[in-house]
């Protein structure tokens, strides 16, 4: 849905006046305010994704099952158009593209933004995932400028690495945390100029959720870090991870993962 009907340019235009929100969870124990939307709308719960349009007071205006399920190709757009017709929202000033972000006044940076692409899952081309991960100074300290080459354990970057899994996997897999993070990364100087210095952080990492029957991700992380000529704190980081997510739920499926990682702000 995220890479399909919801990203349709016409749908994007229709939804621009709205405030968007999503709720995810088990259908067997809905919060009362979500349950109330189903009851008021009368939408049948025979699928797992639904759209609800509410007015500015939070009152339901329109609800519908949000997966096409054999319906016409324009089904989702037509349902959103019905919501627009009922609510007649005022136009809003275009806000352009606003990516999830972090605030900070570093160095070091407040954290990183990770753009994650995965191979197709058989349910269409997935839209890129965008996650921001706050990163404390203690983690950046481990990436301080290396006067001599040194090793950094992949475990130190756990908060970043645990984001390396594809979308649209089963909740049973998604909610299971990585138990082990293995790998050693080499941090070494790589030149610079009179004002800035550069270092590279490179190595192979492997994250596992358990034994041979659980999912795991394996691949290579490579980052370019910059520093002031006279200070050890990292100013910025940019690089990538490329690898494979072995999805082990009712068999085994391989997802190719590619992530661009950039420090923020």
């Amino acid at each position: 849905m995220r890479g399909g009907s919801l990203s349709n340019p016409d749908v994007i235009e229709l939804l621009k006046p709205f405030l968007l929100a999503s709720w995810h969870g088990s259908g067997t124990n809905l919060p009362s305010e979500i349950q109330a939307l189903f009851e008021k709308s009368g939408v049948a719960r025979n699928i797992n994704v639904f759209g609800f349009a509410l007015d500015s007071k939070g009152e339901l205006a329109h609800g519908f099952p949000a997966l096409p399920g054999g319906r016409a190709p324009n089904y989702f757009k037509e349902e959103v158009a019905k919501a627009v017709d009922k609510l007649k929202p005022a136009k809003v000033e275009p806000k352009g593209t606003a990516l999830p972000d972090l605030k900070g006044s570093g160095p070091p940076p407040a954290g990183v933004r990770i753009f994650l692409r995965s191979s197709e899952s058989g349910r269409g081309k997935p839209a890129p995932i965008v996650e921001v991960v706050a990163t404390p100074p203690e983690t950046w300290n481990l990436l301080a400028y290396p006067d001599q080459p040194r090793d950094v354990e992949a475990q130190a970057l756990k908060a970043w690495l645990v984001q390396l899994y594809p979308a649209a996997i089963r909740t049973a897999d998604q909610s299971k945390p990585f138990k082990t993070i293995a790998g050693s990364l080499k941090l070494q100087a790589a030149g610079g100029d009179a004002k800035r210095r550069v270092a590279l952080l490179r190595g192979d990492v492997r994250l596992s959720k358990g034994g041979e029957t659980e999912s795991e991700v394996e691949g290579r992380l490579e980052l370019v870090l910059t520093y002031a000529a006279d200070a050890a704190d990292a100013i910025s980081a940019r690089g990538f991870f490329e690898g494979t997510y072995l999805y082990r739920q009712r068999g085994e499926l391989k997802f190719q993962l590619a992530a661009a990682i950039e420090s923020r702000p």
Binding site: I12, L19, F52, G58, F115, P128, V198, G239
Partner: protein, 78 residues
């Protein structure tokens, strides 16, 4: 465009071939704005925030409910 300028600025101080290759790969993976249409929409962190802002700004809400997953439609891990 912003990120490209930043990357170019970074590339200006990077002479190491390996570092340049990493930055090139970074840019080839990082999506362009056209690949991120959902980021053109105004997302709230959840229904509670959406209702508060809707009341304040006089705007409607579009809520997506997913009853078989955990995550976040905005970030995409869902």
């Amino acid at each position: 465009m912003g990120f490209l300028l930043i990357s170019l600025a970074m590339a200006a101080i990077v002479q190491d071939d390996d570092a340049l290759k990493i930055l090139e790969r970074f840019e080839s993976i990082r999506p362009a704005e056209k690949d991120l249409p959902l980021c053109q929409l105004d997302w709230a962190s959840g229904l509670k925030e959406a209702k508060e802002r809707a009341a304040r700004e006089g705007r409607p809400i579009f809520l997506i409910v997913v009853t078989n997953s955990y995550g976040d439609m905005y970030s995409g891990h869902c």
